[in-house]
């Protein structure tokens, strides 16, 4: 891992993540206060990395943007932003407008809070977030938008509804499977009798978001993303939170549901009944694969390359449910040491007893060196215990690695350039089946 650069980064800047997040909020319109190219850069990034999903109701090149230039760099951009917000409110039809700042206005010291306050005091449904690109990556931008929602949109509630929860931790477009992954978790929570606000699915509404303050629990299906918002909501709205790994497949999902039920003090029989029924379905559905699973020798050594959510979640599923051998897990996010520790300990005690090997490496070209530490290249002799048959579950940037190793490959973590995803998801029990289908299908594609 280089200390001086990041190779082919698998995320955008804070503004990029924030803009994508606002696009995913029902009826919301992002207003960028930035240079003109930011919106286009995000559109092209989604085009190449988000499994063919670009924009939505208002995203990509439709996004209002102040497009500041040298004039504003010299004289300040507040006036331009004021003009842009006023005209946006006339031209664009939205239920919520979110001003997001880029690098340039933040460095020159524009005061967006005052501009936003002017309009909101006149009754415009508008909020703002300082999301300058240098503040962090797109996952942090996602977190900043959620924080802004809990600060300025979610109403303070004097009552707590014991069966209401909020769900997040999956960044729209940053996870190409964001819709399906949110829905997969949401479905199981509903099976427990909970009412769920998940912000970004087709079943969510702005009203639901406004009422999120009465939830009994915030569930963050991530050990890294969205935790800033969880802390803010705890402080401001008094809602406790639970940060859990993204649950993929039966073992992880059962653990996830038990953790939620425990925290909410839900009755044991309900959660166990849900798990039993889902498990039964899962294995009945898996049953007919078993002959070919054996006949075609479909067990694989695996390398997992993914973001902070997928690295652990995919490894856990492969080891605990699919019975593959994930010998190397690479997390490509640049993380704080404390965050790294959290991911390491999350993988230290797998249900199957499999020993995971998690490394932190932002640069994909270095993955092979990490593998060689444990699995040296062949020495030319007749007998050699090689890393084969192998499979790489990662992003589309792992195709070269897979080719080098003669391994199979599936793109799951950003960037996913070579798949079209609409609402497919890998979370929950059924998500485990979807992932099994996709992994095996890629192996037998030439059959």
């Amino acid at each position: 891992m280089s200390e001086h650069f990041i190779e082919r980064s698998r995320y955008l800047c804070a503004l990029g993540g924030a803009a994508a997040t606002v696009t995913a909020i029902p009826g919301a319109i992002p207003i960028l206060h930035s240079a003109s190219g930011c919106a286009g850069n995000f559109a092209w990034t989604q085009n190449g990395g988000s499994a063919l999903q670009v924009g939505g109701y208002c995203g990509a090149l439709t996004t209002p943007s102040s497009n500041i230039q040298e004039h504003e760099v010299v004289f300040g951009g507040d006036e331009r932003l004021r003009e842009q917000v006023a005209s946006t409110l006339k031209v664009m039809a939205g239920e919520l407008f979110v001003v997001l700042t880029g690098c340039v206005p933040e460095i020159i010291g524009d005061d967006i809070k005052s501009v936003v306050a002017e309009f909101s005091s006149e009754g415009a449904p508008i909020i703002g977030a300082e999301t300058g690109g240098f503040r962090g990556n797109s996952y942090w931008g996602y977190d900043l938008v959620l924080q802004a929602l809990f600060r300025d949109v979610v109403a303070k509630s004097s009552t707590t509804e014991s069966t209401e929860v909020n769900l997040w931790g999956i960044a729209p477009y940053g996870d190409p499977f964001w819709r399906g992954n949110l829905e997969g978790v949401r479905r199981h929570l509903e099976q427990l009798g909970l009412r769920v606000n998940s912000f970004f699915t087709t079943r969510d509404t702005l009203d639901g978001i406004r009422q999120a303050g009465s939830a009994a629990l915030n569930i963050v299906v991530s050990e890294v993303y969205g935790l800033g918002a969880a802390a803010l909501a705890a402080e401001r709205h008094g809602i406790p939170y639970l940060s859990l790994p993204l649950p993929i497949g039966p073992t992880a999902t059962a653990a996830f549901l038990r953790a939620v039920a425990h925290k909410l003090d839900l009755s044991g029989p309900t959660v166990e009944a849900v798990i039993a029924r889902e498990k039964s379905d899962y294995f009945k559905l898996l049953e007919p694969l078993t002959d070919c699973w054996n006949d075609l020798d479909l067990q694989r050594y695996a390398i997992v390359v993914g973001d902070a959510n997928y690295a652990g979640a995919l490894t856990r599923f492969l080891a605990d449910d699919l019975g593959w051998l994930p010998e190397l897990t690479v997390c490509t996010d640049p993380l704080q040491e404390e965050e790294q520790q959290r991911l390491v300990s999350g993988l230290s005690d797998l249900d199957s007893g499999y020993e995971a090997n998690l490394v932190f490496e932002t640069d994909a070209s270095q993955v092979i060196h990490h593998l060689r530490k444990k699995w040296p290249a062949g020495n030319g002799g007749t007998y050699h215990n090689t890393f084969s048959p192998a499979f790489v579950v990662g992003s589309s940037l792992e195709r070269e690695l897979a080719q080098t190793l003669g391994a199979g490959h599936l793109s799951v973590s950003f960037p996913v350039a070579n798949r079209a995803v609409i609402d497919r998801g890998y979370t929950g029990f059924r998500g485990g089946l979807r992932l099994t289908e996709d992994l095996i299908s890629s192996i037998v594609a030439g059959r």
Binding site: G49, N67, V91, C103, S365
Partner: protein, 510 residues
């Protein structure tokens, strides 16, 4: 002093008086009493995001084999490469039978760097990239942040160059500095010229003045039958092959430049007998330089999109080499064959209306081609405007049945949606990431630029016709979208004149 002697290329609003905000009509821009917006470009009081010069610059740089792109900016700048990488992979495969990802890096400037400066980080990044990837060249590309905090990539490059093996190409792409993103081409060409074509041992360029003037780079021979065919990434391989086929027909050898050209071999461009542009928007800066410095004359007038335009383009080349008869023979043969092949499509297109949106020259040339296919043009959006396009507007004004709107806009789909609701075209052709608005209105759409598809020359005219026939045959996808989705604009906006916000910035009234 030439532009090339400056640290960075000038912005086009200064050099060419190019503009991005004008609402007019084809008669206004190309007819009598034409009113150009070249002076006093207005600004919109409402704007939507578009791109900056960084994107087209990276589209070129990422294709260069054995080159590493090192972004010097915040982490988001340049992530557009994730989609451009598809072109790098596909382009490499069709040219060399090898699929390879581009290599792009970022110094990922953070809050600390913004305060204390990023020069030292950049220096270390260059040294490490050189060691790790051992490339022939490293393009050091600056985004907005270094431009504001005062990082100096030129000085860093100068200091580090002796310590590394790779040739270092500083490229200035500070997005806030120019609203004309076509400045990107000048920025990349500028760096190629200064770094790869000029002498690095002497202060002055090899071709500058004196006995070395107007000759190929340092003692190389002139190649009397070799032409530079300029491609800044607006043509895919299939289009390059079409033009190469036509030029080979004149007995010429073709050096495609600069996309997918190895930096080490780029000096060949100084040896050519002629440089041929396919788009004045792209190449004027560099071709002027190649002529001034190395005596390579150039053609920079026509874009070979459309039947007539391809003929005009080829004729100019033929004339340059005294091969007029050969040229006429090729054109006669090609046109006869093409017209016969197009016969089955014409009845499908005749009288149908079309709206076109793209970079200025491409939009106008494609509009002419669509007229040749039988369509009636009812609106054009050009991403910017400069004087090079005046002849094209004249052609379209002359052939227009009635006047129609021309929107000079760096995308701005709010103006487009307003215009489309009024003119209700039967077909829309828009740039990449620029067809969704028309699609959600239920209009059949087709992409006007995609490096995997043919657009150029006679082959391009035929293939485009085939694709449009296909799109028109079943536009259900868009129709169903329109029935079930709404666009994010207020009803008030649809009632307002489309160019209401032009010249309103800063409280100026139109």
């Amino acid at each position: 002093m030439s532009y090339i002697d400056l640290k960075s290329a000038p912005k086009r609003e200064d050099r060419l008086k190019a503009c991005i905000a004008h609402g007019g009509s084809v008669c206004d821009l190309g007819g009598k009493g034409k009113k150009s917006c070249l002076v006093d470009d207005g600004e919109r009081g409402f704007t939507q995001g578009s791109i900056c010069l960084l994107l087209p610059a990276l589209a070129m740089l990422n294709t260069l084999p054995d080159n590493v792109v090192l972004m010097h900016s915040a982490i988001g700048c340049g992530t557009c490469t994730h989609s451009q990488n598809a072109n790098v992979r596909f382009g490499g495969n069709v040219r060399w039978g090898k699929v390879k990802d581009g290599t792009w890096l970022s110094t990922a400037l953070n809050e600390t760097d913004v305060i204390s400066g990023g020069d030292a980080k950049l220096e270390q990044a260059i040294i490490e990239a050189d060691k790790r990837y051992q490339p022939f060249s490293i393009s050091v590309v600056s985004g907005c942040v270094p431009g504001i905090i005062g990082d100096d990539i030129d000085t860093v490059v100068k200091q580090v160059q002796p310590l590394v093996n790779a040739k270092l190409l500083p490229v200035h792409c500070e997005g806030f500095k120019t609203k004309i993103w076509a400045t990107a081409y000048d920025a990349v060409y500028h760096s190629i010229g200064r770094t790869l074509l000029e002498s690095t041992t002497s202060e002055k360029g090899a071709g500058e003045g004196g006995d070395a003037g107007l000759a190929p780079y340092q003692g190389l021979e002139r190649l009397p039958r070799t032409v530079n065919l300029m491609n800044v990434s607006s043509m895919g391989r299939i289009d390059e092959l079409e033009l190469t086929r036509l030029l080979t027909g004149l007995g010429l050898a073709v050096n495609v430049f600069p996309v997918f050209a190895h930096p080490e071999g780029m000096v060949t461009a100084t040896q050519a007998a002629l440089s041929i542009s396919t788009c004045p928007t792209h190449d004027d800066y560099f071709l002027t330089y190649l002529e001034e410095r190395f005596g390579v004359p150039y053609l920079l007038k026509h874009m070979p999109i459309g039947i007539e335009n391809t003929g005009l383009w080829l004729r100019d080349v033929a004339r340059h080499f005294g091969a007029e008869e050969q040229g006429e023979e090729i054109i006669r043969r090609e046109e006869a064959e093409l017209h016969a092949a197009l016969a089955e499509f014409r009845p499908l297109f005749t009288g149908k209306t079309v709206f076109v949106s793209a970079g200025e020259f491409r939009a106008l040339a494609t509009a002419r081609l669509l007229e040749e296919l039988g369509f009636r043009v009812v609106g054009i959006r050009s991403f910017h405007h400069d004087a090079f396009a005046e002849g094209e507007y004249e052609k379209l004004a002359a052939s227009a049945v009635e006047d129609y709107p021309i929107d000079i806009a760096n995308v701005q789909p709010f103006e487009e949606v307003n215009l489309l609701k009024r003119v209700k075209p039967d077909l829309f052709l828009g740039h990449a990431n620029g067809n969704a608005t028309a699609a959600k209105l239920g209009i059949p759409t087709h992409v006007i630029y995609n490096t995997g598809l043919a657009y150029i020359g006679y082959r391009g005219a035929y293939d485009l016709a085939r694709r449009l026939a296909r799109q028109r045959k079943n536009p259900s996808y868009n129709r169903r979208l329109a029935e079930n989705l709404r666009l994010p604009y207020t009803d008030d906006w649809y009632q307002s004149p489309p160019f209401s916000y032009i010249n309103t910035r800063g409280g100026v009234t139109a």
